[in-house]
Symmetry: C2
Subunit: 154 residues, 2 copies
DNA sequence: CTCGTTGCAAACCTTTTGCAAGGAG
DNA sequence: CTCCTTGCAAAAGGTTTGCAACGAG
């Protein structure tokens, strides 16, 4: 739904910058904006291949880098291996709760934290550019260790 | 100062676990506990070599891993390359303010954040194991890009 | 046609690990 | 002596990049 909007924004920016719209980029941006969860480069590669079989890893890498640079995607490196990507919602900033057992990621908004950090930064003579608040914990219910491939919305 | 205490704690744990006290481990733990700033494995290797020239990277790696497992060191992966290590002060938990320009790391304590996150986690049915609150910003004064400054690069 | 884009494979960087020689207990 | 440790070098695991062929405009 506003995956479509995001995709359009991406295309617009491409042409505005004199860069080209290609099947690969469309495929990558599409699966990314429609996924509804945090994706690694390999996740995205997998999904994109279903639409555009020939896509290569490097293209996914470069496209996601571009999306991140343009403020359309954010990169997260939670504890553990790879970088995960997530569409940026211009309206609301959110942070993450990560289960250390099953890896589930839950998003939450907490305005108080945002306010608090402004005060902390000011106290140390700094201007806030961004922040990261990650709470690592354990699901009290419904926690199951990571089994096979991360369950995609398929 | 209580670098000595920490070192002793480390030695005690070693013998308690039937592991051996060696010159390398002492050198590594010593420079680490005395540094007073965040160190990368290479920083530690460098410093340790001044005391015990033959130390190898693998030993630093394994020793720091051990310290982290034993709760004597914490590992941080701020935005950018390598993992940085810092002694854990059992008394107080703190978080970090990181300058995106010069890489300076300032520590701060903010009890309110701690309290807040318990509430957030509970709201989503999770029990907090640990957390990370990193504020990225820009120094308003005294900020100089990383030049020959020891240690912190980007 | 032109010049941005792509896939492949190699380069990189940091973190891990296998192994035979070395050393603490 | 016995095993834990060590340093070396190679393996891993992920991210970046060089390059010649490709293809959008």
């Amino acid at each position: 739904m506003d995956a479509a909007v995001a995709l359009e924004r991406f295309r617009a920016r491409l042409s505005r910058d004199g860069r080209r719209t290609t099947g690969q980029r469309d495929a990558i941006a599409t699966v990314f904006f429609e996924a509804g969860r945090h994706l690694s480069l390999l996740d995205i590669l997998d999904l994109a291949k279903r639409i555009s079989p020939g896509v290569g890893f490097a293209t996914v890498y470069r496209t996601m880098r571009m999306l991140a640079d343009w403020g359309l995607a954010s990169e997260h490196r939670f504890d553990g291996g790879q970088t995960l990507y997530e569409p940026i919602d211009a309206d609301a900033h959110h942070d993450h709760l990560i289960c250390v057992r099953c890896g589930r990621v839950v998003e939450y908004e907490e305005p108080e934290v945002e306010a608090l950090q402004e005060r902390v930064a000011a106290r140390y003579g700094m201007r806030v550019v961004s922040h990261k608040h990650e709470i690592y914990g354990e699901c009290l219910a419904g926690c199951r260790p990571p089994v096979g491939a991360p369950g995609l919305g398929d």
